[in-house]
């Protein structure tokens, strides 16, 4: 089932938004502070220049400082923002020599500037002011005393400049974000283009086209393309094996049916009841074999292709083994063989499996052993318990199977090079399917001097619940 977990674009957009918002907030705070600092600096230098210009005009007349305030100083002070301007020239005692300042400079401020110039922001009369003071050493003929020059103006220009600068940096930032967003969208388009190409390619593909992909993909998508190729490959294989199986099965069924047809034709041409009886007996045998073949095919198909979840319960292998052996020991097919049980481990051996499946598996192994060994051979069933698994084995001292054909034995219709016997060649294929179903591992080994042992490795389990 395909579950859509949000769009990539939206995820990226949200991510960008969050980053940009966080980063933007920081940047804005920093921009706000730096623009205000810049504005303060720019305008403070105007104050400084104005104070210098006034200082130039200070002269001494008969022991008193005299200053003719230069018009230029006031122009500088007012700036192009036309600030309200105040100046005050103070003598040593703090008395104004010349001033248009309605406020008196606090003694604390006067002390502050004795050593170095000082600028301060203050709110007076509901208006925010910036003041700048500096002390100026000026020597007259009679007295040599420093004078203090204080200048101040309103802060409208600073605010306007800071706002302007801030606005500019905000608009730069917004433009950058928009640009980044656009770039992101474009990048997404470019990045997703191979994906789109692949999608079109897959959509155009014929249903039974299992050839590997023929597409140009970027490095990042190579794995996806490879996986798709593997998937196609596996599908092709499974499809081919299904076709082969169907062909094989049809072929297997065709041979006995053809035999039935020819026997019954011969019998129909004859008028001897004895021949009819013999033909009927042959037909009966053939029908029985064909029916068994069809049954096995059905169960193999069921196991392989239908599957279905069975209910696995803890199972005592000792019990199952004994029951199955008892069933077979008395049967017609086992009459000419020595069917026996090896020594079983003491106590129950628990595995998690379906009982019918284990019995079917055992039945097939025993049936195979009976069929492919000469009469009188020994067939032994056994069970070994290891640390975390149990090994169920069925061994015989028949002719065994050549090493090179042993691996093919698990394929359907494989009879280990002995096509003459009346087996269907499906037994081990069924066993293998059951083993896979139970999560078990199947191994085939040759015995010395001759014989074959089939081992089923089953994981052990705790017996919970029923003892």
């Amino acid at each position: 089932m395909i579950e859509v977990t949000g769009s990539l674009k939206r995820q990226l957009a949200v991510w960008l938004l969050v980053t940009v918002t966080g980063l933007g907030a920081l940047l804005m705070v920093e921009a706000w502070r730096s623009t205000h600092r810049a504005a303060e600096r720019a305008f403070d230098s105007q104050l400084e220049a104005a104070a210098m210009t006034i200082a130039e005009a200070v002269q001494w007349e008969e022991g008193e400082p005299v200053v003719e305030v230069p018009a230029a100083a006031l122009q500088i002070l007012a700036t192009r923002h036309q600030e309200r301007v105040f100046y005050s020239v103070l003598d040593t005692s703090g008395e104004p020599v010349s001033a248009n300042m309605p406020f008196s400079i606090a003694p604390g401020w006067r002390e502050q500037v004795t050593n170095e110039p000082w600028a301060v922001t203050a709110t007076l009369d509901d208006t925010s002011w910036r003041f700048y003071g500096r002390e100026y050493d000026s020597a007259g003929w009679i007295s040599q005393e420093p004078v203090q020059i204080w200048v101040g103006h309103t802060r409208e220009g600073r605010k306007a400049l800071a706002d302007e600068l801030f606005e500019r940096s905000v608009s730069h930032f917004v433009a950058m974000v928009l640009l980044a967003g656009t770039l992101m969208v474009m990048t997404m388009r470019v990045a997703l283009a191979p994906m789109r190409r692949l999608r079109h390619l897959l959509r155009r593909r014929e249903a039974d086209d299992m050839r590997p992909l023929d597409a140009r993909v970027p490095e990042e998508m190579r794995e996806l393309a490879n996986t798709l190729d593997h998937l196609f490959d596996r599908q092709r294989q499974s499809r081919e094996s299904l076709l082969r199986f169907t062909a094989d099965a049809s072929h297997q069924l065709k041979t006995p049916l053809a035999g039935l047809q020819s026997t019954s034709e011969l019998a129909l041409q004859s008028s001897d009841p004895a021949q009819w009886h013999a033909a009927l007996a042959t037909v009966h045998d053939g029908a029985e074999r064909t029916s068994r073949l069809a049954g096995q095919l059905l169960s193999l198909v069921r196991l392989r292709h239908i599957g279905g979840e069975g209910i696995a319960t803890p199972l005592d292998m000792n019990g199952v083994l004994r029951e199955t052996l008892l069933d077979w020991a008395g049967s017609e097919a086992a009459r000419e063989h020595d069917l026996g049980l090896a020594e079983l481990p003491s106590g129950p051996v628990w595995v998690r499996a379906e009982k019918w499946a284990i019995r079917e598996l055992l039945g097939n192994l025993i049936d195979n052993a009976l069929r492919y060994t000469p009469p009188g051979s020994e067939i032994t069933l056994g069970l070994e318990r290891h640390d975390d698994e149990t090994v169920l084995f069925v061994e015989d001292n028949g002719p065994g199977v050549a090493d090179e054909t042993r691996d093919r034995l698990l394929q359907p219709f494989e009879r280990g090079g002995r096509q003459g016997t009346d087996g269907s060649g499906l037994g081990l294929a069924i066993v293998d399917s059951i083993a896979q179903r139970c999560g078990a591992r199947l191994t085939l080994e040759s015995l010395k001097p001759h014989g074959l042992v089939v081992k089923l490795h089953l994981p052990l389990c705790e017996n919970e619940g029923t003892p």
Partner: protein, 356 residues
């Protein structure tokens, strides 16, 4: 346009609050009761057409125009109780100082935004006239000498004809007249030879008057032959009725003085005051100024006999308006003023001292 309605809560809370504020401040009651007070250093006769036009446009506003001297106007800005609504004065440095002290209310209107930047400061005070500073002489003068056309001419006359001109020259007293002081300050800024002119005036024992009207009367009566630094606005009107008076725009440079108007911060009728100042700055007000008064319109594009543009056409580019900016504040600096006046006195008596 749809006005978004306030939520009921804020309506409920703001209403009484505003009402209480209104009661406490008593503004609305006074706004209705008291007339719009305009304290102006501007002759009523000269400005009458403008006032009539305003009354015609705003019959609902009861205008009380009080014509005073610049000094009185300046005192009223600080001490007026109640404060005047609108303050108009030609004493530019003093007006500027009051605005700098924060006595003005900013005016934000289409008219104020449209006003040329060189004729306003902080959008609080506006120079709304463009009055050239002129020389005026009596026709008799021409019988004895070439009338002066430039400052240099005047200086030459004062030097060469000082016997004839003895007590026949008049000008502003910088000590008692704010305008006179401002004009001399501005003259001194342009040329150091101005002090020679002052010395020349001292030599002919120039008579110092407080206002242009007194100078014009003196010329008409024949007491004076020559006047220096008269307000062109008054002199031109005077000359129309008094053919013996000739008005001369100095051809080297002509100072231009602007009447400055602002709305007082504590105006009892701030809204009406703003309407009045806006009218002064409006095209309509300026048209009246240009057509029916000799105050000269500042706005470009206004047609009439008295416009800054026509003045420029007459005198060329030698027009020097007293700049309306913070440098004016220097003129009212007490030390600078006393230093200037001291020098003025000294120069005025230079020749006398030499004679002694």
């Amino acid at each position: 346009m749809k006005v978004p309605s306030l939520p009921p809560v804020s309506r409920f809370t703001w209403g009484p609050l505003v009402l209480v504020l209104m009661l406490v401040l008593g503004e609305p009651a006074r706004a209705l009761a008291s007339p719009l007070v305009v304290e102006a250093a501007l002759d009523r006769d000269v400005v009458a057409p403008l006032l009539e036009a305003f009354q015609a446009n705003h019959p609902d506003i009861d205008l009380d125009f009080r014509d005073r001297s610049t000094l009185e106007v300046d005192d009223l800005v600080v001490q007026g109780d109640p404060a005047p609504d609108v303050v108009i004065s030609s004493a530019m440095p003093w007006q500027m100082a009051r605005v700098n002290e924060g006595y003005a209310l900013p005016l934000d209107s289409p008219q104020s935004r449209n006003w040329p930047a060189w004729a306003k400061w902080r959008d609080e005070v506006f120079g709304f006239t463009f009055e050239p500073i002129v020389m005026a002489y009596r026709l008799d003068l021409t019988k004895h000498m070439m009338p002066p056309r430039t400052h240099a001419d005047l200086h030459t006359l004062l030097t060469t004809q000082h016997d004839l001109l003895q007590q026949k020259v008049t000008t502003y007293s910088p000590l008692t007249s704010g305008i006179g002081y401002t004009l001399f300050q501005q003259d001194a800024r342009y040329s150091l030879r101005f002090w020679d002119l002052v010395a020349g005036m001292g030599r002919v024992d120039a008579q110092l008057e407080d206002n242009t009207r007194a100078m014009l009367e003196g010329i008409s009566e024949g007491r004076y032959w020559l006047g220096y630094n008269l307000l062109g606005s008054y002199a031109m009107v005077w000359a129309q009725d008094h053919p013996e008076v000739i008005v001369q725009l100095p051809q080297d440079y002509s100072l231009v003085m602007m009447r400055m108007a602002f709305v007082h911060r504590a105006a009892p009728n701030p809204d009406a005051a703003k309407v009045f100042v806006n009218f002064l700055l409006s095209r309509e007000g300026q048209r009246v100024l240009a057509g029916q008064t000799p105050l000269f319109s500042v706005l470009p594009g206004i047609i009439g006999p008295y416009t800054a543009q026509r003045l420029r056409d007459q005198v060329g580019e030698r027009i020097y308006p007293i700049p309306l900016n913070a440098s004016l504040l220097a003129f009212v600096d007490p030390q600078r003023r006393s230093a200037f006046l001291a020098r003025w006195r000294r120069e005025f008596r230079r020749e006398l001292r030499l004679d002694d």
